[in-house]
């Protein structure tokens, strides 16, 4: 259990440790496993997460645009409905006044009691009226019905009266006037028979108008109110009034249609403003209807959904990242370990080759020593023979003992040379039937990953007509492995390696291993099979690879040749007998 934090750490941050194994470095497929691991994670993450994030962003964009459009339309619709209600409220009252003046005329309306009767009827019919009065064309109030006694007052300087002089009807802004109570004046003008005009004026309670506006309010953050064209609030605003009773938003430019626009309030919060300039069919007004909604409240559903999607995205991305990291770690770790095994095998193979060459050397030395040993042995043996034959030495056992000492020493030397030869025998030929194509494929598989990594194209063309070869499996494998290794070291990424075979008469097969790498210069071409010859930097090559290969081919009774041109590539041609004669076992 104590190891679990370590194993967790190694699944997240693998070590790819090569401690004490620097000698294996040339055999690894990838030189930097940390980089390979990082690249794998990066590529997989990009491939998996990028489409997810892009799709989410596109979805956000489309949904937000559509919800914005919907919010604007809804606000515009609300403003339009409210506008119709306010317009109807004013028009209804103006129409009643127009009907009254046209129907009753100045004389009837100014008779005592009539105006009160009309007011009562109007209150019954429409409600919302406070009082009713008739003005002469000089602005003097000539008849009055209502709770205040304002008869005789002069209204000639009132803006609504001045407007009424110019038009047939008027609607005032909301003001306090003489009675000091906020109200709206609606008035219609008519002509008397003497040619002078008079005005029938009614005062409307603002309460009814405010109630009408409130009826359209939906949601906590919606605000519906009227302003005049200077921005002065005509009805109370819940959120957008400043201390001077002006609206805290900018006054919209005139439009004869209802509109909705995106804007922001003083604190920078996004809002949607719907507005309409109120005009009745009978008289224009100075009112602007404002419908203001906070965008956040309208987008709440979407914001909640977006938050859910964000969570889902974050959890998905985290899961994908964890799975990719763990998978990449496991996979790259496996590649690393498999590669390390391969590197070890290849290092061992090369070491075996070196041992084989040491074995050959030992065998050569032992053979050379055996000849003089044999001479010493025979000479001493002959002297001993003489001592045993000749009468005068027969009694001198000491002399025979001395000779025996020499013979024993020779025998000991012979044992040593036999042991040396025995060591070399481990590398003797053991023949069996080999399918050349299968063996080449096996060897290529060793390098498959490296070839893919380095983008090296390997083509193998070994026709089915090539018979099974009677030869030593290990040695042939080593020969092919060495030559393919050699080619891999000589070629750059993106080059080709071509392996093909053909029959050379009925008894020999020729194997061509061709690369299009850097090639071998003419001066070096004659030395490539010499032991310890290398063009690599010191410490990077033993110079034994091709020399060992040469020795192995010789052992299999074949021969090896090389053709090369600097810059064009190199071809090694190995010729092997189809049947290798059997090794003699002593």
């Amino acid at each position: 259990m104590t190891q679990s934090p370590n194993s967790l750490l190694s699944s997240i941050w693998p070590q790819f440790s090569r401690n004490g194994e620097e000698h294996l470095n040339p055999y690894y497929t990838f030189q930097d496993y940390r980089q390979t691991w990082g690249m794998t994670i990066f590529i997989l993450m990009t491939t998996a997460l990028l489409p997810l994030i892009v799709m989410a962003l596109i979805y956000y964009q489309l949904t937000e645009t559509s919800i914005n459009t919907e919010a604007l339309l809804r606000t515009e619709r609300l403003a339009s409905n409210t506008r119709r209600a306010v317009t109807f409220f004013l028009e209804e009252r103006l129409a009643a006044l127009t009907f009254t003046v046209n129907e009753m005329g100045y004389d009837r309306l100014t008779r005592p009691g009539v105006l009160s009767e009309v007011l009562r009827n109007l209150k019954l019919g429409f409600g919302g009226l406070t009082d009713l009065s008739v003005m002469a064309d000089n602005g003097t109030q000539v008849a009055y019905a209502g709770p205040f006694n304002l008869e005789g007052k002069d209204y000639s300087d009132q803006p609504w009266f001045m407007e009424c002089q110019q038009h047939d009807a008027c609607v005032s802004e909301i003001f306090s006037g003489y009675r000091d109570v906020p109200h709206i004046v609606v008035a219609v003008k008519s002509k008397r028979p003497d040619g002078h005009f008079f005005v029938l004026r009614a005062t409307l309670e603002t309460e009814r108008l405010i109630q009408t506006l409130s009826a359209f309010k939906t949601g906590e953050h919606a605000d519906i109110f009227l302003i005049n064209r200077d921005g002065l609030l005509q009805t109370p605003s819940q959120f957008y009034a400043d201390p001077s009773r002006h609206v805290s938003l900018s006054v919209p430019a005139y439009s004869d249609r209802t509109k909705a626009v995106l804007s922001s309030d003083r604190s920078g919060l996004p809002i949607i403003v719907g507005y309409a300039f109120i005009d009745t069919k009978i008289a224009p007004t100075g009112f602007i209807l404002m419908v203001v909604k906070q965008k956040a409240s309208m987008m709440k559903v979407w914001l909640d959904l977006r938050s859910d999607i964000n969570w889902f995205l974050a959890i998905s991305a985290a899961s994908i990242a964890i799975v990719i990291t763990l998978t990449s770690t496991v996979m790259v770790n496996r590649i690393f370990h498999a590669d390390r095994e391969k590197a070890k095998t290849m290092a061992l193979a090369e070491q075996n080759c070196q041992l084989a060459s040491i074995g050959q050397l030992a065998a050569g030395v032992a053979h050379e020593i055996n000849n003089p040993l044999a001479l010493i042995n025979e000479t001493a043996g002959y002297v001993k023979d003489l001592f045993l034959i000749k009468e005068q030495y027969k009694e001198d056992t000491e002399l025979v003992e001395h000779i025996d000492t020499i013979i024993e020493a020779v025998e000991r030397c012979g044992t040593i040379t036999r042991q040396l030869l025995g060591f070399a025998r481990r590398f003797d030929i053991q023949t069996q039937s080999i399918d050349l194509k299968e063996m080449v494929t096996d060897v290529i598989n060793f390098h498959k990953k490296e070839a893919e990594y380095r983008n090296i194209a390997i083509s193998v063309d070994i026709p089915e007509t090539i018979p099974l070869i009677e030869t030593d499996r290990g040695k042939l494998q080593q020969i092919i492995l060495n030559l393919v290794n050699n080619a891999f070291q000589a070629i750059n990424n993106g080059c080709i390696l071509d392996i093909r075979a053909e029959m050379d008469g009925p008894e020999q097969v020729r194997l061509f291993i061709r690369d299009n790498g850097c090639g071998i210069s003419e001066e070096h071409l004659g030395k490539v099979f010499e032991p310890f010859f290398t063009t690599k930097k010191e410490g990077q090559g033993t110079g034994l690879g091709l020399s060992i290969t040469y020795g192995l081919v010789q052992k299999l009774h074949g021969n090896i040749a090389v053709q090369s041109k600097t810059g064009e590539g190199t071809t090694f041609v190995v010729t092997l007998p189809v049947q290798t004669k059997k090794e003699i076992q002593a």
Binding site: A363, A366, H367, E368, N370, N371, L373, A374, L375, I376, N377, E378, T379, G381, Y382, D385, L388, I389, V410, E411, C413, G414, T417, R418, L421, G422, A424, R425, D428, K555, H557, T580, K581, K582, E583, I584, Q585, A586
Partner: protein, 127 residues
């Protein structure tokens, strides 16, 4: 028994011949495969030829093949400096005898006795 010793190591082969003669064998020497072959071609006959495997010119294996063609009755014993290890191949009869250098004279005598068909005893020196 008439024996022909063929080896390019002259002192060795002379010494070995003397030792065989001490044991009552008729031993003759050649210092090259070529010379030995010429002698056989000239009509000289031996019961057994003791051949070094590795010699300049005609080696022991080739020499055995060519001598065998001339005198099929001849027996052969090979000597080799490779001890018990043969890193060459032989296209000859596998029943041939091999002895490693340095030789043990008793083993050689035993081999020759066996080849001589029957107990044609080779005497110990001095007997």
């Amino acid at each position: 028994m008439k024996v022909l010793l063929v080896d390019d190591e002259q002192k060795f082969v002379l010494m070995l011949a003397k030792r065989l003669e001490l044991r009552g064998l008729q031993a003759d020497v050649s210092f090259s495969g070529q010379n030995a072959l010429e002698r056989i071609e000239r009509g000289e006959r031996f019961d057994v030829a003791i051949l070094d495997v590795k010699m300049p010119g005609i080696g022991g294996i080739e020499l055995r093949r060519r001598m065998g063609l001339i005198d099929p009755r001849m027996k052969f014993v090979f000597l080799t400096g490779h001890g018990s290890n043969m890193d060459y191949t032989l296209g000859a009869n596998e029943a041939e005898d091999y002895l490693p250098k340095p030789l043990k004279i008793d083993e050689l005598i035993e081999t020759l006795n066996r080849l001589a068909e029957g107990p044609q005893a080779v005497p110990e020196p001095g007997n």
